[in-house]
Symmetry: C2
Subunit: 506 residues, 2 copies
């Protein structure tokens, strides 16, 4: 796994839907007369089909039927809502917007379900939702990162507008369309840089080694999103293939299958599927991937509706792969990632390495409201092959291994120099960093002890900083960049190392 | 001010409405043809009148008119809510309750107002709301306090069922109706002891000096709630009257006026009105109190509706009192307390001593929905005499004085002995207590330093505890009770001392 890439990719891909982790297993199931389940990806306009083992049909008419059937019964019960609406419109101390009240009422009904995955999506949110499950976005096509408080190009994507316009790694973006982005966080800056295909964004660039700032105009385009990354690793003379899946979107399964074939043509001796930090996505993408690994006869997932009716999904695969496989997961692996992990464990008898997964055991569907808005509603539970509902519990790894604590440290921001005998959370954070870098701060609870002071001095000495034993901005920045460098070094990825060990241990 | 009494009274009076601080300035204004404002307390059933300077009328018909007028327009707009309702009922993965969805929709509309004071009140909540503004509750009539983890009688009210049944100060309540209340918090215990008039509650009592526990049955009754406490204080040969107002409920103004006359008959040389921790209540109660102090000609408060129309309230008072007056307030003084403070400052030119007040500048009305439920809706802003809207800002004192930090410490709970070199929030709390008790802990940030250790040793020595320099349960309990004793000693009430200084400084 490339932690850096995941972190940055997440910013690019999900910048429009931040906060929506693990909510995007969303498909539309249509029950046919024969009881067979057929599936369809939930994009209202395109009605693209993502069927698994049956024919897909449009399902919108069923919703219309439901409405007609229920309409008469509602009028009596719902009149109380009308009354409240009228009272608010008439009496509230400020003017109110009818649209907001109505959307509030819908959100309020959803809130009573106590299900964070059932939400109202207005037209805009629906577009963002579609973006999140599509395999492209509109922008300039580059990875960016926050380095020393500045938005910095990591590397432009191949063939992207960013590359063609001449943006280079380490370029620092100072302003966007004439507006300074100094002090802005990465998420907001990315939102400014992205925009509609065909429009142009003007970037002021501070390039290392170039005295005056450059102005570079970039015409935005559709940028394909990579959700599958492939590599091979040599372990004691054996060749491991690694497929990292960062989300389950439209092209994910096809891309996965293509890259799996490429790895197999290189005669890999084993495979690691890395779904760490993968928040989920399309149900069908997980299905299509699983069809590579779970042989027929065993269901790889089950879904259950509100009447308790279950439907089992079974693959057409004749036999299992001849090589060992390990799934690598963590507390950020949710939804479709958990369907995959659960199936690999229970129906494939494969090992799961890492930490307990997120715990989202439900399937949502986007139900069109007729005006471009949608209800994203939880319509099914999904169960593992053995019938376990892992909601709010997650899936246990068969081999538990955590990343070192310094992977979870926060960026260092020094407003006031930290020194001996002070006591706060920033010091606790720095203590964890020092430990991760091989120093002994004595304690990690935020009290700046003599031992912490000694560790800081040693760090300063070894990094050509003034040896003060206190942490000013310079020392803080150096600590930060040292930790980032260490995180980026794959040798320190203890979870991946363990996965490779387990892969070839049998 | 008697801090203990306020704390306990709050538990008794507001135990049914905990969490509703500062939301109870609620009256019903009816605009008459002449533009005169008339007021009415908002109890749907009794329609009790709490008019100020005009006749009160029933105002329910106006709501009916509004509904009829708006009904036709709603049908189109609101059909989207019906649609969402139907989809949720039909498609959601679990069964849903129609009543919950409807109440959720109403709450959802209110949520869009981003006004914490506009809420939906079902029948039960409405009853609690009525209790909160009435001047009585149903129970046994005693102050209780948590002492060493046990619910302890402070003193039964005079003539109350608790007194008649023979409950004594320092009695510890062990169980209620056979159910142990060990480990229960005070709020939950009070809820168990309270109950409907005429019913009997059986209390198991551990009485100091009595070997076996007693069982005492108490028949519950209606207990009048005191919201005004009166006392006099001698300051350098002058006599100050103190009227502490703990909330603005039905009888508050009458009780205030009665106690004010009593004080005046004792020839007080000045008056302190103490509204610290007073969350507000009935608008009319504040008005009636202000009529004692603000002379005619100057408006003492203004209200403004959604159209920006303002109405000024003016008293009939001929001239100001001949003695100086100071209002004592703090960050818990909200709503009606702030109307009072704002008027006294701007229209009466009196001093306000204490800290910045809470900041609630709106007036709510309970609007009946026809089925026992109500919308509590913000219908007016209120403005100070000079037209300032203090919402979310509060009123500044003219003389700022805070209570010592130890007044704000939390109960000590020791699971694990605290000792040198440990570092956590519990230690910070204890350090503030030590400082309040006159010891020097060296620091108050939670790091258990050598100085803290020395302070603990000194405290232990002076309190006949084993001198360890560590804090176990015994030392923790002693610290706690020492702080409570100090808080209860009125000499330490720096705000009241300052108010008395200011009162006679001119």
């Amino acid at each position: 796994m490339n932690l850096k890439r995941r972190y940055l990719a997440a910013l690019l891909v999900f910048s429009m839907i931040l906060g929506g982790v693990a909510t995007y297993t969303a498909v539309q199931f249509i029950q046919t007369g024969t009881g067979q389940a057929q599936t369809q990806s939930n994009q209202e306009e395109s009605n693209k089909q993502a069927s698994t083992d049956g024919e897909a049909q449009s399902g919108d008419e069923s919703i219309g039927d439901v409405l007609d059937g229920l309409k008469e019964n509602n009028d009596g019960e719902l009149s109380k809502i009308d009354k409240a609406y009228s009272l608010i419109q008439e009496k509230y101390v400020k003017d109110t917007e009818s649209k907001e009240l109505i959307e509030g009422a819908i959100q309020g009904m959803l809130d009573t379900l106590e299900d964070p995955y059932s939400t109202y999506m207005d037209k805009e949110t629906m577009e963002q939702f579609n973006n999140s499950i599509s395999s492209s976005f509109e922008g300039i096509g580059t990875e960016v990162s926050m380095v020393d408080g500045r938005v910095t190009i990591v590397s432009p994507f191949k063939g992207s507008p960013a590359e063609e316009a001449g943006l280079k790694p380490k370029d620092q973006i100072v302003s966007v369309d004439g507006e300074s982005i100094e002090g802005m966080d990465l998420y907001d800056a990315v939102l400014k840089i992205r925009g509609e295909k065909g429009t142009t964004v003007s970037l002021e660039i501070d390039r290392p080694g170039v005295e005056e700032n450059l102005t570079i105009d970039v015409k935005r385009d559709t940028i394909p999103i990579e959700t599958v990354y492939s590599e091979t690793k040599e372990v004691n003379g054996k060749k491991a293939g690694v497929l990292e899946v960062t989300s389950f979107s439209e092209n994910t399964a096809a891309d996965f299958n293509k890259k799996l074939k490429e790895l197999e043509s290189k005669n890999i001796d084993g495979l690691v599927i890395d779904v760490r930090g993968n928040p989920g996505g399309l149900f069908t993408a997980a299905q299509d991937i699983l069809e590579n690994f779970i042989p027929k006869g065993t269901p790889y997932v089950q879904i259950e509706n509100s009447d308790g009716e279950k439907k089992r999904y079974v693959s057409n695969l004749e036999e299992k792969k001849g090589y060992p496989i390990v799934v690598l997961m963590d507390e950020g692996s949710a939804s479709a990632s958990e369907i995959l992990a659960g199936a690999m464990k229970e129906a494939g008898d494969y090992e799961l390495v890492g930490t307990n997964s997120f715990g989202k055991g439900t399937v949502q569907q986007a139900l069109p409201m007729g005006d471009g808005s949608n209800l994203k509603l939880t319509i099914y539970k999904w169960l593992t092959p053995d019938g376990n509902w892992i909601h709010e519990e997650g899936i246990k790894p068969t081999v538990k291994v955590e990343l070192p604590e310094f992977y979870y440290t926060n960026p260092v921001q020094i407003d006031k120099t930290l020194e001996y005998d002070m006591n706060n959370d920033k010091i606790a954070n720095v203590q964890k960093m020092l430990e991760g870098l091989g120093y002994d701060p004595g304690r990690k609870d935020g009290y700046f002890s003599k031992e912490t002071q000694a560790a800081v001095k040693q760090f300063q000495k070894e990094n050509d900083l003034k040896v003060t034993g206190t942490i000013n901005e310079d020392t803080g920045n150096k600590l930060q960049s040292s930790v980032v460098t260490k995180v980026q070094n794959k040798e320190n990825d203890t979870q991946m190392q363990k996965a490779l060990d387990v892969l070839f241990s049998k």
